[in-house]
């Protein structure tokens, strides 16, 4: 059976959920071979094997942390040469897409980014994408070379599929030309204790209607009652009420959770582009004409400062 390379996104060996989703999708096309770059490959291999990785190609080199992107492209190219895969899958993070692009160019292959589904097809993998602010769904495939596809988080439910997950060392030579961009310092983002925005099953977002940074705890309290991530519209971020890292929308993060709750968000195209593929959409807004209500499964026309705290209390009561 053909092998499929899966690039592992992890923090010090703690594998992030989108990688497990990639393994699930990879099994539709062939046998997943995971590529783990950096420390603690043995830790990662356990969970990768549980999710279908027949093999984990591991390489650790200081260059991965010292220089931006390019050394990882060298490593993935070494894995590609070692395996001759039927496809290469990567997570659709900013870095994942950059690595994918450079790899595709080097191996003479086409690239598809931001797939929301991947299936086997007669002429190779078929990727589904959601385009034009999710107003269209396209099916595409790569016509030259080995398909390189990046997949958005929450595109598949990770499935357990026990496989060997044997760790093999991958020999990597980092080219001098890959040491062009030095990472002078690195400050890990402080954990809020909440789920990651792009990975969360539930997202609660606040917008202009939240009316100030001092009111965002109302949104956070609802999020915490549901075990959700907190998002913000561009208006709220531009006003300085919430960090940009939490921005949902075309220029922020694109999310596709099971449940999206928009509070005080009108639903401008910019915001819709980032959340329209959410499975269930709920909105709370004073303005009954707000475009967000065109998208919702359930909408409440009302003051978020009345509705959200009541909802939070109800959630807490019902959850006991």
């Amino acid at each position: 059976m053909a092998e499929v390379l899966v690039y592992v996104d992890h923090v010090d060996g703690a594998v992030r959920k989108p990688t497990l989703e990639l393994l699930t999708l990879a099994r539709r096309i062939g046998e997943p071979v995971a590529v783990h770059l950096g420390a603690n490959a043995e830790d990662a291999a356990k969970i990768l094997g549980e999710h279908g990785a027949v093999k984990v190609l591991a390489a650790d080199a200081p260059e991965f942390a010292e220089y931006l992107v390019a050394p990882k492209v060298d490593a993935l190219q070494a894995a590609y040469d070692a395996v001759s895969p039927a496809a290469v899958l990567l997570p659709s993070s900013a870095e994942g897409k950059e690595i994918a692009a450079r790899l595709a160019l080097r191996i003479g292959s086409g690239i598809i980014t931001d797939a929301v589904d991947v299936e086997a097809g007669d002429e190779g993998p078929v990727a589904t994408q959601s385009v034009f602010a999710a107003s269209y769904t396209t099916k595409s495939r790569i016509t030259k070379g080995t398909p390189v596809i990046t997949v958005k988080p929450n595109s598949a439910a990770p499935e357990a599929a026990p496989a060997a997950g044997t760790v093999e060392q991958l020999a990597v030579t980092v080219a001098d030309s890959s040491k062009g961009t030095k990472i002078v310092s690195r400050t890990p983002r402080e954990s809020t204790g909440r789920p990651d925005l792009t990975e969360a099953a539930i997202v609660v977002s606040g917008g202009r209607g939240v009316n100030g940074a001092e009111n965002f705890p109302v949104i956070e309290a609802l999020a915490d009652s549901l075990g959700a991530a907190v998002g913000a519209s561009r208006a709220a971020v531009d006003a300085g009420w919430y960090p940009h890292t939490n921005q949902v929308g075309q220029t922020g993060k694109s999310v596709s959770p099971q449940l999206y709750i928009a509070a005080g968000i009108s639903g401008a195209i910019q915001h819709r582009a980032g959340m329209q593929t959410s499975k269930t959409i709920v909105a709370i807004n004073k303005d009954e004409e707000a475009p967000i209500f065109d998208l919702v499964d359930y909408g409440v026309v009302g003051d978020l400062f009345d509705v959200v705290p009541t909802l939070t209390d109800e959630v807490k009561t019902r959850k006991g």
């Binding site: 692009a101 030095k182 359930y298």
Partner: protein, 261 residues
């Protein structure tokens, strides 16, 4: 010696318009107004700030696209770029990201550069891969996704806010930079700027000028193929209630019914 800055910009269909596909499954450009991609305005702005901080710098704004794409160049020129290069050729219709990166790389090399500045992604395709592709093709450092950028002493430095960390980056010129929408508001063209832009030179190049064969680009040369595009079915009308004191409870009931609580 003068710092040569090339800013890559894209002319995109207005996202607030009704965007759709043409019969050949390329983006229909006839049915919706185009404009300079908003995310590229940030690139022009940062290039202008880098120029203002430099002793001697010149900004060339570069685009690949049909005749109308000239509008995007004029906007950048009216913001303050010095000159423009427009790559236009009928054979470019349907070119994908890999093909576009080839055309841009050849045009950048022909123009001459010390620094290439791009937006983080286009607002239509939203792939965000072009800066990395350009760095790979030009074999220079990529300093991408920057929320802050500065150039001094032949080096570019910047801040990259990633998913899990914030990084400070540094690379020697020549380099390819991309900037995010957090890099700083783009300026509005002044009346003087708009008038001056009319007189600024726009060089026109075609594939022959760049020594690119027609079959390397366009729909035929594309490395990917769109087999189908379907308009997303309109969402069935959801339930909308007015809050008269019970809104929060009704919503909780709905969420419980959907097994979210």
């Amino acid at each position: 010696m003068s710092l040569r800055i090339v800013v890559c910009v894209k002319y995109v269909p207005d996202a607030t318009g009704d965007r759709h596909f043409a019969e050949d499954l390329t983006v229909d450009r006839d049915d919706v107004d185009g404009l300079l991609s908003e995310l590229d305005e940030y690139a022009v702005e940062q290039a202008l700030q880098i120029k203002e901080a430099a002793d001697d710098a010149e900004i060339t704004v570069l685009t690949v696209g049909p005749e109308d794409a000239n509008d995007a160049l004029r906007k950048a020129l009216s913001m303050g770029a010095d000159k423009a290069v427009h790559v236009e050729d009928d054979d470019l219709h349907g070119t994908d990201a890999l093909g576009t990166s080839l055309v841009l790389a050849k045009a950048i090399e022909k123009t001459g550069y010390d620094l290439v500045v791009c937006g983080m992604a286009s607002t239509d395709g939203t792939m965000g891969v072009l800066p990395a592709l350009l760095a790979e093709r030009l074999n220079v450092p990529q300093v991408t996704q920057l929320s802050e950028v500065s150039v001094a002493d032949g080096k570019v430095t910047g801040r990259r806010d990633g998913d899990t960390a914030t990084e400070q980056l540094e690379a020697a010129l020549p380099a390819v930079v991309s900037v995010t929408d957090q890099s700083g508001e783009a300026r509005y063209p002044s009346f003087k700027g708009i008038m001056a832009a009319k007189k600024k030179p726009v060089e026109s190049l075609d594939l022959e000028d760049l020594e690119i064969e027609a079959d390397e680009v366009g729909l035929e040369g594309a490395w990917t193929k769109v087999d189908g595009a379907a308009e997303r079915p309109a969402r069935t009308a959801g339930t909308i209630v007015k809050d008269e004191g019970e809104g929060g409870k009704q919503l909780a009931e709905f969420l419980a019914g959907q097994k979210f609580i």
